[in-house]
Symmetry: C2
Subunit: 96 residues, 2 copies
Amino acid sequence: MVERLNAEDREAALALLPGWVHDKAVDSIARDFRFKDFSTAFAFMAQVAMLAEKAGHHPDWSNSYNRVRIALSTHDAGGLSEKDIALALEIDRLMP
Amino acid sequence: MVERLNAEDREAALALLPGWVHDKAVDSIARDFRFKDFSTAFAFMAQVAMLAEKAGHHPDWSNSYNRVRIALSTHDAGGLSEKDIALALEIDRLMP
C-alpha cells in the first residue's frame, strides 16, 4: 500500500517538478505538453504509456491534436504518492 | 473545406453509430470504450491514432486506465461533418 505524501515531502517533491501544477483540491499534479503535430504528440504518448505500464502506475490524460495533458494521482492513497513523483520525473526526462 | 452536416444527413449518419452519443450543444459525438486493462486500452488508442493520422482528422480523447473516451467534431466546420462520421465508423470497426 502506497501512502499519500505528507505536506513536507510533497513540497520537496514539487520543487523538483516546476512544469507541473498541483491541484490542491484533489491533491493531483498536471502538466500540459505541446508538440509540432499529432504524430509527434502521439509518439510522446506511446513513450509515456511504456513508462506507466512498467511502473504499474497510470495517468489520467487527454490529447487534442498537438496537445497532451497529463494528470497524476494515486487513487488508492487518496492523493499524491511517491509513484506520481517518480512517474512525473520520468516523463520530464522524455522532453528535450 | 468540409461542411457541417445538415440535420437530415446528421440523423441518417447517427443511425449508423448507435454506440455514439450526440452532444447537441457543441454538435459533436462521443463514445466511451472499456478494455481489460491499460495495455489493451492503449493498443486500441494506437490503432485509432493511425486511422486519425491517415484521415488527417484527429479526435479529442482521454484515457484513464482501461477506459478511453473519444469525441469527434470538425472544428473548421463548427460541428459534425462527413469526416467525423467516417472516422467513427472506422473506429467502430476496430471493436470485436
